[in-house]
Symmetry: C2
Subunit: 331 residues, 2 copies
DNA sequence: TTGTAGGCGTTATCAA
DNA sequence: TTGATAACGCCTACAA
């Protein structure tokens, strides 16, 4: 019975206490050594680090976070795990964060709101329109937020929209120059800022040439809806000669429908998209698109957050590059 | 000066202390109320919850985790953010975890190892062969681990491999029945267990029919390498009449190369893959494949973890269903 | 039913 | 250069 009491608590982790004991120093000295604090002698540091290694010690994150009020984690919150562009952004973000010893933590759905509310991350990158503005504002009271899916104005909140304006205009100018007359638009969700910007540029360029939007088809950025719109167009008989799609996925759905109905792309109807996703290179005909360098975008976002958190310098936002890639879906 | 001292610390969050004060109860009562502990009167609970809402209180995760030695987070660690099957598994996992109030946390690269070592998650799902066995063993001393990419034997460690055996045999049987004679294999990474299992079934079935592997091409599960192999085959002139690829992505690269070199798929060479990824439906010819229900797999994994953590019952592992989908890439 | 108090594992202040 | 000790915010015996 007596002996039982002295037994180490079942399951208990190695703590800094154990390390200190093994290195024959006080807890505080151990902490200094482990955190590279300069005021600890070289020999002591070595003893402590050795002990830590021998005991396979790793700090308890909760305790550290509670004390320092930091987590070292950066959250990336997305609306779903299967979006084709997230992969690239995330790779860029992660590569860069690793260099600065931040951890990336990706989440989606309710989890995202919980992690934000309980401040389990030091900074948040948000690409999920399901997250409520209020949750974001609240998190931003004490932490930095980068928005990719909307625009909010407040201290600590920054938005990194893709640069749509110029590049969509350029594409449309070139399309008009090629002689297309009946130019239509397949939208994303109406309220999406990206969609709105892209459509604004679309309309503006047409207007500059005294042309009218041949048709405005409502979509939602998905292949499925793109397909449905394609079927409707095919059946209608009232065909445009060019459809600019707000993103690649809807363009791919559209082309799929056209293929099925024997509509010749690009000769009957030409199609272009936006994003430059991998899938666009594997469909037939391959998709003309505006290619965004999402990986670099991710890299830039991570850079921004790091310099913000470390307050090294005025953090600067770099827009990702965009370029037009002509493939066989246009003449 | 005096006044300065009394000012609330800049930036400080709302704590349970503030809630207790506003509800005029002690901290412990507030805690009980917030955690649905039964021994607190209805009115008191209401007062506390109201106060929490009014103050916009959310618990400090670090403090809670430190005390309870739990995080409520389940980690999913992957080798990269752009794998086409992760999206589906993750959706399934997340949907199920949400119901049980667990948060999903996805990470990759060094971050994964850190999160595991510092035990920032209560359970880990691992699909990243870059993570070292030792890191996993260590984490598993106190937590449950589900492996999707390898097999390790230890307390708390479980592996959920896709069921490759039966279904690959069935496909090969059917292929042989169709009269293919020169049947080749395009592998994944040689050391990958999935690849090994699939190849074992492949070889076994051929052997049963007294056939030999026409060629073994080494790949690595990527489109790029699949493409390179395809080019090599095209140039060699020594063609198989059927290539079974260890996954869809390599099959897609292969077909792409064949298309470029004017090899007729399926008539010159037929191709089949494994996974059933979206891309396979959009290439020409569409890819014959073994389709795995990855979303359900994710669902099952989450179920397993939840019942394990809650020790409700003997946790049971359900394998995901697999079925063969014939498309135009085979005769 | 409610309150008091101790401690989870760290970091960091202060004194030695 | 090192060590004792007080927090960080929360949960939970135990006492009232």
């Amino acid at each position: 019975m007596e002996r039982e009491k002295k037994v180490k608590k079942r399951d208990s982790r190695v703590t800094i206490r154990d390390v200190a004991k093994r290195a024959s120093v006080s807890i505080s000295t151990a902490s200094y050594a482990l955190n590279n604090n300069p005021n600890v002698s070289k020999e002591t540091r070595k003893r402590v680090l050795d002990a830590a290694r021998e005991l396979n010690y790793y700090p308890n994150a909760s305790a550290r976070n509670l004390k320092t009020n930091k987590t070292g984690n950066i959250g990336f919150f997305i609306y779903g795990f299967d979006g084709p562009i997230f992969g690239d952004i995330l790779e860029g973000v992660n590569l860069e964060l690793q260099k600065a010893n931040y951890n990336i933590v990706v989440s989606s759905g309710i989890s995202s709101a919980v992690l934000l509310r309980e401040q389990q991350v030091d900074a948040a990158i948000i690409f999920d329109s399901n997250l409520e503005d209020e949750t974001i504002y609240n998190f931003a009271k004490r932490n930095v937020v980068v928005l990719l899916d909307r625009t909010l104005k407040d201290k600590n909140i920054y938005d990194f929209q893709v640069e749509n304006k110029e590049i969509v205009c350029v594409l449309l100018e070139e399309i008009i120059a090629k002689g297309y007359k009946k130019i239509a638009y397949l939208s994303g969700p109406i309220e999406s800022p990206s969609n709105q910007e892209r459509f604004a540029c679309f309309e503006e360029t047409l207007k500059r040439h005294k042309m009218e939007t041949f048709k405005f088809y409502e979509g939602d950025f998905t292949i499925n809806t793109g397909y449905k719109v394609g079927v409707k167009i095919a059946k209608s008989g009232d065909w445009p000669d060019f459809v600019f799609c707000a993103n690649d996925e809807s363009a791919i759905g559209l082309i799929n429908a056209f293929n099925e109905f024997g509509i010749d792309v690009p000769n009957d109807i030409s199609v272009a998209g936006f994003d430059g996703i991998l899938l666009g290179e594997y469909i037939k005909p391959r998709l003309t698109t505006i290619q965004i360098d999402y990986k670099t975008w991710g890299y830039n976002i991570a850079q921004f957050i790091i310099s913000y958190l470390q307050k090294q310098k005025e953090a600067i936002i770099n827009k990702p590059t965009a370029k037009i890639i002509y493939k066989e879906s246009t003449k």
